[in-house]
């Protein structure tokens, strides 16, 4: 199989934050028709936030890249752009390798549908074919610890622990080449947490590229072999984990007032 690659060239992302008037077709049309004389708030209410400013990054096969940065530095946006969900305003992205993102384990779960249906549905969302899902369904059921009878009931009848276990089992059932992880994922009671941890480690080990955003230094140091630091939408440090973390903490701590 071809080596996995993830590369970003000069990637820019901008969020337009619309005000209420701007979300209204009627007001926008009135504003346009009157050349801004009426419904003035339409123009003034748009504010733009540039979330990523010219990101250049090339990640090769075997690299486990940690992403650090303060809240609002652009970590989540970066991961969503890598996932392909958010399209950049400018720049190029290239991805070789089956990619899967683990941002929200219960994404796409339908509480009215039963456990088996949710396994199928989530599998399809991940990009599996129905046949591949059938091959995985028993293993997922087994890992979640739910009985076949329980899986035949609507998910809304589950306890929150059961729901999380099922969601975790489903979303971690596929081993992607490129894994995008926004914070470490853990779930369930003490016994399940240990099982979940093993499964996550296994998932990370088997992936060819890992992008891992976290606020926990020790996790990053334990898993990654490279780290980047984001600040205000730009990569301000890129290199060995220890160096990037040192830079991050140094820059994040404000200098004492003179």
């Amino acid at each position: 199989m071809a080596a996995s690659i993830l590369s970003l060239d000069d990637v820019w992302v901008e969020y337009a934050i619309y005000g209420l008037a701007n979300r209204s077709l009627k007001k926008t049309l009135v504003g346009l028709a009157s050349r801004g004389r009426l419904a003035r708030e339409v123009e003034t209410e748009i504010s733009r936030v540039v979330a990523l400013k010219g990101i250049n990054l090339r990640v090769d096969d075997g690299e486990r890249v940690g992403v650090v940065g303060a809240n609002g530095a652009g970590k989540t946006t970066l991961l969503r752009v890598m996932a392909g969900a958010l399209k950049p305003l400018r720049g190029r992205i290239r991805r070789i390798g089956f990619t899967s993102s683990l941002f929200d384990v219960s994404l796409g779960m339908n509480s009215e549908a039963n456990g088996w249906d949710n396994i199928t549905l989530r599998g399809l969302y991940l990009g599996l074919t129905p046949r591949e899902i059938r091959a995985l369904a028993d293993e997922i059921a087994d890992f979640s610890g739910l009985t076949p009878e329980q899986l035949a009931c609507p998910v809304r009848t589950y306890s929150s622990g059961m729901q999380v276990r099922l969601a975790f089992a489903i979303s971690t059932a596929v081993r992607p080449d490129i894994l995008l992880l926004d914070e470490w994922i853990s779930a369930g009671d003490a016994a399940f947490v240990e099982k979940a941890k093993q499964r996550m480690i296994d998932l990370v080990d088997k992936s060819r590229i890992l992008i891992f955003a976290t606020h926990y230094d020790w996790l990053l140091a334990g898993i990654c072999n490279r780290a980047i630091c984001l600040q205000d939408g730009k990569i301000v440090a890129d290199g060995p984990v220890a160096d990037t973390l040192a830079f991050y903490h140094q820059s994040a701590t404000p200098l004492p007032a003179q």
Binding site: R23, L25, A85, L89, L107, E112, L128, T129, E132, L203
Partner: protein, 280 residues
């Protein structure tokens, strides 16, 4: 612990974004079709969950529409002084087709909004969402079509070869439903008051379109009829299902709208494609 070793096959292993929107959109459309197991399933689930609590499922809708058509048929047929044999089949088919059109346009506004969480997080082909809306409403349409069969039997409708016109008519209707759901879905994601505007327009359209009244019955034929696109689309199905072919005017208008709609929506989709995930 045996997890999948082979990469998934619905999702492509190679993905590239370089700002070439035409290529991105064409790939999105291809993948949207490729993802049929997902939207077919989601569409079914939408229908089933909506009628889950009732024992007869979606047929509940069939019954309620059946009751409405029959009671309206009797009352209005009497009011307009028309033979029930002629009026009720006309009304039934009009309702059936209008039900599909108005549901797709109304729900089309929610196409992308209803899946915002997923759209912002996973790179699913966006074109699968209009397909899901269309499929879900087509299922409901097929359930309602049972009423037509009942009407054919009860009124012993004289059908003939022109019934075949209904097939291309239905295909054309579905194509238009698809671009409409896409266009309205994108616009509604950006402009949140659009669903309300659309539903208001549809309310008016229901009364000005010949659905509960027959155009030939009026003395003058107002321009409003021939200038109304809904009329032509309903005729594409209503005429053959009543036993005569649609007129050339019906087909010309419908084909023209299809062409303009498809081209216009493609250009608009291409323009908005990169922003949809930000708007929802």
């Amino acid at each position: 612990m045996a997890t999948a070793e082979t990469p998934a096959t619905l999702k492509r292993a190679f993905w590239e974004w370089d700002g070439n929107l035409t290529r991105a959109v064409l790939e999105d459309l291809r993948q949207g079709i490729n993802y049929w197991p997902l939207w077919i399933r989601l569409g079914w689930q939408d229908v089933m969950l909506r009628y889950r609590r009732s024992m007869i499922g979606p047929f509940w809708l069939t019954i309620s529409m059946g009751i409405m058509v029959f009671s309206l048929g009797l009352i209005y047929g009497d009011l307009f002084g028309m033979v029930v044999d002629r009026y009720l089949p006309f009304l039934t088919i009009g309702f059936l087709v209008w039900g599909l059109i108005s549901a797709v346009l109304n729900e089309g506004c929610q196409t992308f909004i209803e899946s915002e969480g997923i759209i912002r997080q996973i790179d699913l082909p966006l074109s699968m969402f209009p397909l899901r809306v269309l499929w879900r409403n087509f299922i409901i349409f097929l359930h309602n079509a049972v009423i037509y069969v009942v009407v054919v039997v009860v009124f012993d409708l004289a059908l003939n070869g022109s019934l075949l016109w209904a097939i291309p008519g239905l295909i054309l209707l579905l194509i238009n439903a698809l671009w409409s759901a896409t266009l309205l879905g994108i616009l509604s994601a950006r402009f949140r008051d659009l669903p309300q505007i659309v539903s208001n327009i549809l309310q008016v359209a229901f009364f000005v379109t010949p659905i509960i009244w027959i155009p030939q019955a009026s003395f003058k034929r107002p321009l409003l009829i021939d200038a109304n696109p809904f009329y032509h689309f309903i005729e594409l199905l209503r005429a053959p299902l009543l036993g005569h072919a649609p007129t050339l005017a019906n087909w010309s208008v419908a084909l023209l709208i299809t062409l303009l709609g498809c081209v216009g929506t493609f250009l608009f989709y291409r323009r908005a494609y990169g922003r949809i995930a930000y708007w929802v």
